[in-house]
Amino acid sequence: MTAGGEVVVRLTGITKSFLGVPVLRGVDLELRAGEVHALMGENGAGKSTLLKVLAGVHRPDSGQVEVAGRPVVFSTPREAQEAGIAIIHQEFTLLEHRTVAENVYLGREPVRRGQVDRRKMEADTKELLDWLGEDGIDPAAPVSGLSVARKQVVEIVKALSTDAKVLAMDEPTAALADQEVELLYDLVDRLRARGIAILYVSHRMREVFDLSRRITVLKDGAFVTTAPTAELTSDQLVRHMVGRSLDALYPDRATEAELGDVRLALRGAGNDRVRGVTFELRSGEVVGIAGLQGSGRSAIARAIWGVEPFTTGTLELDGVPRRVTDPRAAVRLGIGYVTEDRKGEGLALRQSIRDNALLVRRAALPGSRGRKRSDLTALLESVAVVARGEHQEVRYLSGGNQQKVVLAKWLAVGPRVLVVDEPTRGIDVGAKQAVHRLLRELARTGVAVLMISSELPELIGMSDRILVVHEGAIAGELPAGASEEAVMGLATGHGIGEVA
């Protein structure tokens, strides 16, 4: 395969940092008409930020953006849009209470004789939907009534409707079921055939190898390589992405002597997202949960925490059956949960480090006198938060330090079980190691740790055992040090070792 077509977009030496934390360090990227170009990298490698630079959401600190050979500076999304660049963001950018057509043409409504040409708008939307084979979606229906998958389709239609020359898709299959993924493939093919350049961001190896013509790899915000897909194997690709020997970076696993009694046991637990979940978690153990996004791995964690509780089966804590109906009950039983949505669910951003660290203690266990100042200070020191002082507001902290505060919040109540969901998402390498070390130290004190991560190396490096979730059920259990292929095989429903 050769990269045909002319160069539509070229990024050179793009850098970007937030509050002093570099997120992109000199990234190059070149997109040609009619190619599917995959952008790969671990979480936190800077893919989403690069996309946002391309979309005009962020302005790069330095570096150059060229469209059709001419240097441009986008200061608003609208300017990027007008230059023919459309982005499908990871988070939905739909207005729930507006119709499909209104969402698709938001900001670019066709106008005829002074008023929005509703008929044309709906007809055009209909045409695009038909073209995608999605004739079940009514352009005049409000988005709020659509399923997640259909909302994704609307997102794609919204991007397409701009007559984009470049379409960037950030994890477009994350929320899609398998058959919908097939449709997406089909769709991507057609777009390519029309001469549209597609920047495809995904974690899923199979998709990348199926679809893309070239692959660009980022690591820790830096450009690693751009190579034709045909010239890469999945092993090489992983090496590019990880770029280092992993094992040495993770703390030692638990020895048999460090493992204690069964702390948490689930037997046949289920709700409307997961079913028949059965496993045990021993004191001192770090157990990983792997699975694709939407597989139900987070649903298990959230059920243990009581956000969307189990409706069937039993949950035992230290041998005693318990009913966890809401987070408060979970917290009071000694179950902690480090959420994947740090800013939305984990922290009160305008409050001080101290107040956040004491949040759980105060919220769930009122009456227990707050720790002495020195205790809290010691706690914050033990998680190694770097800050001006404990009265600094957490919104001014980097992601890594914020995550340490979240951990401190749970440590302050001495949990028996700690569930951590994507504990290192969006934080830099140094902080990652600190978080890993902390989790392992915590386990050594007898806490049972359940860890969810979509970063396989991390999961494999940290876990004493790995549970793999597929389609709402546990597909299998792997021992420490299992291969990525083994995990991916189970996670994609193919069985151990089968990976595309």
């Binding site: 979309a55 959401v57 608003t76 999304p77 609208r78 849009q81 963001h89 950018t93 739909l94 207005l95 729930e96 209470h97 507006r98 209104e102 938001l106 900001g107 670019r108 409504e109 106008v111 002074g114 008023q115 929005v116 509703r118 229906a141 409000p142 009534g145 659509l146 399923s147 997640v148 998958a149 259909r150 919204k158 929320a175 899609l176 079921a177 409307d272 997202r273 997961v274 079913r275 939407g294 597989s295 139900g296 389609e471 709402g472």
Partner: protein
Amino acid sequence: MSVVQQKIEVARGATGGRSRRFTFTPTVTVYLALVALLVVGSVLVGVQGGVLLDQGGILNILTRSTVLGLVAVGQTIVIVAGSLDLSVAYLVGLCSLVAAETMAGSDGMMVPGVLLALGVAAVVGLVNGLVVTVLKVNAFIATLGVALILRGYLEENYTGPAGSVPRAFQHLGFDRIGPVPVGVLLMLLVAAAAWWYLRRTRGGYHTYAVGGDVDVARLSGVRTGRTIVIAHVLCAVAAGLAGVFLASRLGSGAPYVGTDAGYDLESIAAVVLGGAALAGGRGGVVGTIGGVLILATLDTIFDDLAVDPFFKDVVRGVVLIVAVALYARRKVSRRSA
């Protein structure tokens, strides 16, 4: 996504489709409530030996809706945009004065008077909008602040009614075409214009988008600041028009004609009663007019029943809370369905 979940989605989609056909949107609910109120009111008034919906009664309800309707239509636009305007009550008074003083009884000054009043209103709206978007002041505080400044100006410069409108101009306030007062037609025209703006123009589409989710709107290329400023200007112009209409009806300008009637909070109440979300992004002019008519009908019924005016306040308060609670309830049950 699991197979199980997918089935749920399918099932949900199906019920969603069906229920959409049958659900009462807030707008429908408002008008059903209005009809129910008219029926109950007619019976109650009938029992007392009166008639609620004779020509006089209808005229009464419509006349009472005029000024509040004008203000509330404007308020709808800012609330849909996710903002709020607490300065409208003083603005109504100010514009009645500007109009009446400019006209000063002269026929020739009618058009300049109206234009000047609306111009002043637009400027005040522009200030509101700029304070909200450029100075990033919360709309509640921004418009409360502007309201206080207007109040200071009025108190400093006026002690009572001032200016006078020519007789010709008073036709606006007192004439009827058949049974319908001109003022009501004016209000309905403004409502129709606002409806057209919100439902038919890009500006209106963007207003809903900004109120629904300002970040999504910005990502989609909407000029959010400009949209909010325009909403404030339109709201102020509608309030200005209410002031002009009152000048015509009162024969002069009156500084406190807007605040005595509490048009600031009352217009917000009418908009919310009409099914708009205070957070923005939902609601519309049609619902608002329904809300206004409900308030006017309540007033008329109470007058016919000779109810203590203090009791009216109690009922208004209860109606407001119950209505919004019902809207909130339905939203929750739909979400959990």
